[in-house]
Amino acid sequence: MPIKTEPVEVNIGPQHPSTHGVFRMVAKIDGERIVDVRMVVGYLHRSMEKLAEERTYTQNIPFTDRMDYLAAMTGNLGYCLSVEKLAGIEVPERAQYLRVIFSELQRIASHCMATGAFINDCGAWQTPVMYCFRDREKVLDLFEMTCGARLTTNYMRIGGVAFDIPDEFLPALDKLVNDELPRAFEEYDQLLVGNEIIMMRARDVGVVSPELAINASLSGPMLRSAGIAWDIRKADPYCVYDHMKFDIPIGYNGDAYDRMVIRIEEMKQSLRIIRQAMHDLPDGPHKTDVPLALRPPPGEAYSRVESPKGELGFYVVSDGGPAPYRWHVRAPSLINLSVLREMTVGQTIADAIVTLGSIDINVGELDR
């Protein structure tokens, strides 16, 4: 005869240390166990998709910075690719290589943040996140060197990139990818991969089955952790990814631990890509000339990139005017988050926090 208890509703967020922004999770709790979860999004809604219909194509690039502000470069890139596809603009080869270099650097920065914050959610007292920040800072230094901004870079342009790299960039990048970051990832390997406490906290927590992952249209590390090999860089290559040699890490069990180690492995693969791109980086212009008030022919285009969070898609409709008629963003944070209920019901609060941390959402992108 169990004790009769009423489930309690607990608001996890919008003001909570572990919701990574203003996201709210209304958990119905029986003791420490979660019975039901309701997600409330929209606290950071800035109406970007509607605002974009009032601005020219070039003016919309800064919005993409501020969507996933931890991965501004890939946001820039995805949007520029879609407009280039819509307007049929050719991008110079040097710009394509630069785009690959910067989006892979951005992947490293974003995954650093995700890994550190994830272990913070596991309860480490800020130490891993500080280590990850240390390495992320080095990447951001390179961004600052190139385009003057660290976070909201606004670097990609329709038809290329905004600036060519400065002279001191390549030596600095060489030092970073051949010396500093490999050593840092070695450290992550020793400290995080196979760490018993992290395994106790993250193994079999927040499990996504392959069927659920496909049905829910998950992407990125969430999908790959379930053992499904899918990466836009391989499946639908953009820029010069088809020239690059790299491997796609996939998980075994679809749990939070798999996602963490996949992110760490992806950072190492990014280093491989950057080394190849550095080696092959051709000379030439970094940008084609595109009219400031670009008027693409009427039509629609969808292009997608593998952002650190997953498949980041931009759907642009033009009616021939100088501003997009409709602009829609397929935000991986939102779609990956949609399985939160399936992942957390039946777990304890502590596990739910770990699960949420392992999804790696970014509320700027979630609410747009």
């Binding site: 005869m1 169990p2 004790i3 009769k4």
Partner: protein, 111 residues
Amino acid sequence: MPETLLTLTLHLEEVLSLGGVLFAIGIYLALSKRNAIGVLMGIEIMLNAVNITLLAFSRFGESPRPLDGQVFAVFVITVAAAEAAVALALAVAIYRWRETVNIDEIDLLRW
């Protein structure tokens, strides 16, 4: 000891009276409280009062083995701890069964 203004003294009777007062409070709690846990609190206070009495006799009383009072007090504490655990387990079990810990509703054996 140097001469002080006033010498206060404490006798067995005063300690026994304290024990008596505490015991009475315990009895009042045990008899009058509606909640089973309140009753248990009364019983614990009564046991404490008895312990005070035991220790008072041990301290003041004439005895060949004066420490025996303390030995008894330790036994009382031991038994009281066991009793508290069982009584609280009973309260929880009763609550599961009857969904109340009010003793005037737990009257299955009354008539």
